[in-house]
Symmetry: C2
Subunit: 141 residues, 2 copies
DNA sequence: AAATCTTTGCAACAAAGTTGCAAAATATAA
DNA sequence: TTATATTTTGCAACTTTGTTGCAAAGATTT
């Protein structure tokens, strides 16, 4: 388990440190997107605020995680699938935000359909944010 | 011109004040989405920072404007079409961000196509963020 | 195991957003 | 129109979020 995680870091030419291992495993354990604040809480102030910021930044640069902008002006991060790598980042997928539990999921398997743009507008990338009720919350009813 | 703007405020049961008129007209004049900072600059510090925050908040609550989350963690605001009203807000439209001039447009006329959700996920609303080159910038080449 | 390079934590700072409150502006009533 | 009630504004203080420089600690390389 820790070995696997370390392997990801090695592949991306990053030193293997405590904070990187712990934060990366947190992402793996939870399946959903995490905010900076979530990580701070979940790691019980084991690491400095600044370290978490820098770790997230590094991960995002390497394409290990990607950021998801949200309506309330906070950034979430989620693990990327294998396609994402440094430089070219595949953001063409769907994010789902649950109205009830507010969890954000990264729905990797759904692709964004083709779209007709107005004259003069050239589309390069697209990100879709869906709001609704997630599988956990609809099961609870 | 000012009359029309005042009418919008009246319809929404808001007192007619200088800041509200000026900020609302700014949105009308520019066609695109604006950040808090843009408004501060464009009104030449005529109003306090706090007033602008509160005005935007009020407008958003009344459905006069809507907020657009962006990748760099700043919130933009844009005028709503008539369908938007307090409570139920139609966010089912497309936002276009230009790679070159960084302007954000609200493409009201394009609808988001139907989408197959994974089992258990119920979709209520969707917002699509498209990135590319806008008509101004592709014309300049 | 020593030397080199990278990462971390601290402190200080900067930017963004919020809250309480008195003064000013707007709306309502007479 | 004027007086009264209500709402909004601006200020100050504060909180929250994110950034930067730098010395110490940790990881990597030889």
């Amino acid at each position: 388990m820790e070995k696997e995680t370390a392997e990801i870091l090695r592949k991306n030419h990053l030193s293997i440190t405590d904070s990187r291992i712990k934060i990366l495993e947190l992402f793996k354990r939870k399946g959903n997107a995490l905010a900076h604040a979530d990580i701070e809480k979940q790691t019980h102030d084991l690491f400095d605020r600044v370290t978490i910021y820098r770790t997230l930044q590094t991960f995002a640069e390497k394409g290990i995680i990607h950021s998801i902008p949200t309506a309330d002006n906070s950034v979430l991060y989620a693990l990327c699938k294998d396609e994402c790598s440094e430089g070219k980042h595949a953001d063409n997928h769907v994010h789902f935000i649950c109205d009830i539990c507010e969890t954000t999921y990264c729905l990797d398997h759904i692709m964004i359909p083709e779209l007709q743009m107005p004259a003069g507008f050239k589309m390069k990338q697209a990100g879709l944010i869906v709001e609704g009720i997630c599988k956990n919350c609809s099961a609870k009813k």
